[in-house]
């Protein structure tokens, strides 16, 4: 049971990290190398909230808002001018991530900070005591995925986003405000990054280089996703499970390399990503 819970929480954490990244890439074709920077903005917003005595969950909301505001500024000043130029967006978002790291360092210093330890209790799952907070992360990941799926499949916003994803010129011709929706999508992606940053704060070291180690596997999951939510979930399940199971049953030192190897093999077999398509 513990192994299953470890696998589930690993998948949940990866999903939470990946969602914002996947939305921005899937809809906007922007490889957002500043994703960890926005996670950093989120977690430091949660740190400030914690230091002002605010409840952790309020800090998570503040984190999402702070990252969204920062995302809006970045979109208006930089990203908006670089859509449809993948290489330039990579360069620009990389630069933005470095700027964010330096700004956080200037504001907060190099030292580790804290966001508190919410739900520091155990929950029994079929007789196995497990960290309540980690279980809550799995639930949040599931809620995010289901919510996003419903949004994309059953709402007008989702329909519009899918139209932009499929054919921007046609969408523009039909009177859809493409630039507004692009900006909104980038802001939502950044808000999700900030949200993820704050949520993972209680389990990670919080310093200006926050989440850098988390993002390598996240990018692999996004590549595997093939721009579909189902592919994203499947990618997270495969990579999260491989990481935990290899670390448990073999040498953990090689588990990261094995994760990369599995991703490469899958991309070789499914170059367009892990998506189910009707014939």
């Amino acid at each position: 049971m513990t192994l299953l819970l470890d696998v589930l929480t690993s998948i949940g954490i990866l999903t939470i990290v990946v969602l914002g990244l996947a939305i921005v890439l899937g809809v906007l074709d922007v490889i957002n190398l500043a994703h960890t920077g926005f996670m950093g903005i989120g977690v430091y917003a949660a740190v400030v909230a914690h230091e002002h005595g605010w409840p952790f969950w309020l800090g998570v909301v503040v984190a999402a808002i702070a990252a969204a505001v920062a995302g809006l500024v970045v979109e208006v000043l930089v990203i908006r001018r670089l859509y449809d130029r993948p290489l330039e967006t990579i360069l620009a978002t990389w630069g933005i991530s470095l700027i964010i790291v330096q700004l956080i360092t200037l504001a907060f210093g190099h030292n580790n900070r804290a966001v508190g330890q919410p739900l520091a209790t155990a929950t029994s799952v079929f007789g196995t005591p497990y960290s309540t907070y980690r279980l809550v992360l799995v639930i949040i990941a599931a809620v995010l995925v289901v919510g996003l799926a419903l949004l994309i499949r059953f709402t007008r916003v989702g329909l519009t986003v899918r139209m932009i994803q499929a054919n921007q010129d046609l969408a523009r011709g039909l009177g859809i405000r493409v630039s507004f929706l692009r900006a909104s999508t980038f802001v939502v992606g950044c808000a999700l990054a900030g949200f993820a940053g704050a949520l993972l704060g209680p389990t990670q070291a919080i310093n200006p280089n926050y989440a850098v180690s988390l993002v390598a596997t996240a990018f692999l999951a996004v590549l595997l996703a093939g721009r579909h939510l189902s592919g994203l979930v499947l990618g997270c399940v495969i990579l999260g499970a491989v990481q935990v199971l290899f670390a448990r049953w073999a040498n953990p030192v090689y588990s990261s390399a094995v994760v990369v190897g599995v991703a490469v093999v899958l991309l070789r077999i499914f170059p367009e990503g892990l998506t189910w398509r009707r014939a």
Binding site: T2, L3, D6, T9, S10, I13, V78, R80, R81, L82, R85, E88, L91, A92, G95, I96, L98, I99, Q102, T105, G109, H110, N111, N112, R113, A114, G116, Q117, A120, T121, A122, P129, Y130, S131, Y133, R134, S179, P202, T203, Q204, A205, I206, N207, P208, N209, V212, S213, L214, Q243, V244, A247, R248, N251, P252, V253, S255, S256
Partner: protein
């Protein structure tokens, strides 16, 4: 919205890049503005960027306080000035920074706070010019050179006192977990046979690569081995993540944690998640006594907002030891190197600090983290022989 022209887009990208480069370069180095040719210029090499930058503030404060002390008390017989350079996060960056300090700034000695690979890279340049290097790290006690002096503890100096104490408490079953890196591996390779020689048992041993973020499966492995003690030997930010996840896992209750690599700053940030962790080192800010109170005041006057930690203490010792060597040997590189090898000074805690064969001998304190993340001193041990991996310096 009108489409931007390619030129404008390129310009925007270039602007972002240039701004970034400007911000990065601004952190590359600073120097004392009033240096003159008769001064003894000290190069301070530390990680101002990258993951290792978490130690920069405390180390710089120690160096600054010691420079003030050396100059105001005329301890070196010559005025010390300093130039700071960013070693970055890799050996190439360290080589560039070190080269600048030696070739351009013409420093006469180097005080360094970098991991083994960066230290080796820098020493390649320094050794050629007989420039003494005073380092916190000496790798796992296996980086030796005639011009290199290690001021921190080597693995067996730091590990054996805490092993002795916990074995005496009846904690005989140990699980060793570490980062897949030379220092943890050396530390554990020393600890295991020592534990066996004292009647203890190793119930498990495993490693994770640097940069690991999820330790749930490792914690499960450790818990399933039912140890009395989990010896956690992970480095830097990974260590903070591990300790947070350990503390949040209900299955770990009742297992004693030893983490000799956990600094005071990270422990403070961990707060209650650090509670109960055993550590050992030559300095903790909670060491009782007026000497430490004076030292802390001195460091805070140098601009450190937080309490000093091991990095502050060692950086202070480095400059004081260098001053002592320069006082007795003059500014000549080989003579200073020779004098450093016989350093015998009174440290800021009032105890004797000695350097022999390039490595330090100093008392070791055992401490246990409290609910607020501070360390309470439990015991003071006599200096431990380093038992070096390299018996003679090349």
């Amino acid at each position: 919205m009108a489409h931007s022209t390619p030129t404008r887009r390129t310009l925007a990208a270039l602007t972002a890049t240039c701004t970034t480069a400007g911000l990065m370069l601004s952190a590359c180095g600073t120097s004392s503005p009033e240096a003159s040719t008769s001064d003894y210029k000290v190069g301070v090499l530390l990680q101002l960027s990258g993951a290792g930058s978490v130690y920069a503030d405390s180390a710089q404060a120690g160096t600054k306080a010691a420079l003030q002390d050396v100059n105001s008390s005329k301890k070196a017989g010559v005025r010390f000035t300093s130039v700071v350079a960013d070693a970055g996060a890799d050996a190439q960056s360290a080589t560039t920074a070190c080269s600048r300090l030696i070739q351009q700034d013409k420093v006469k000695a180097l005080v360094v706070f970098v991991p083994g690979p960066q230290l080796l890279a820098c020493n390649t340049l320094a050794k050629r010019q007989n420039i003494p290097i005073l380092s916190l790290s000496s790798g796992a006690g296996n980086i030796c050179a005639t011009n290199l002096t290690g001021f921190g503890l080597v693995p067996n100096q730091q590990t054996l006192p805490v092993l002795d104490d916990l074995i005496a408490q009846g904690k005989k079953k140990w699980y060793f977990f570490g980062a897949d890196y030379s220092t943890p591996k050396t530390t554990i390779s020393i600890a295991k046979p020592y534990l066996a020689s004292k009647g203890g048992t190793t119930v498990g041993e495993s490693y994770e690569p640097m940069g690991t973020t999820d330790y749930s499966q490792d914690i499960t492995k450790i818990v399933n081995a039912h140890p009395d003690v989990a010896f956690l030997n992970v480095i830097g930010n990974d260590d903070v993540a591990l300790e947070k996840q350990w503390a949040a896992d209900p299955r770990t209750k009742g297992i004693t944690r030893v983490d000799i690599l956990l600094g005071e700053g990270p422990a403070k940030a961990l707060g209650s998640a650090a509670s109960g962790i055993w550590s050992s080192n030559v300095y903790f800010s909670s060491i009782p006594g007026s000497d430490n109170d004076t030292f802390k005041s001195q460091i805070q006057a140098a601009g450190l907002k937080d309490s000093p930690d091991i990095n502050t203490y060692v950086s202070y010792l480095q400059v004081e030891a260098l001053a002592s060597a320069v006082k007795s040997a003059g500014a000549d590189g080989p003579k200073v190197i020779s004098a450093l090898g016989k350093t015998d000074i009174t440290g800021p805690l009032g105890s004797q600090f000695q350097i022999r064969s390039g490595f330090s001998y100093q008392p070791v304190y055992l401490a246990q983290a409290q609910a607020d993340g501070s360390f309470a001193i439990q015991k003071k041990s006599d200096p431990v022989d380093p038992k070096l991996a390299c018996s003679s310096a090349s």
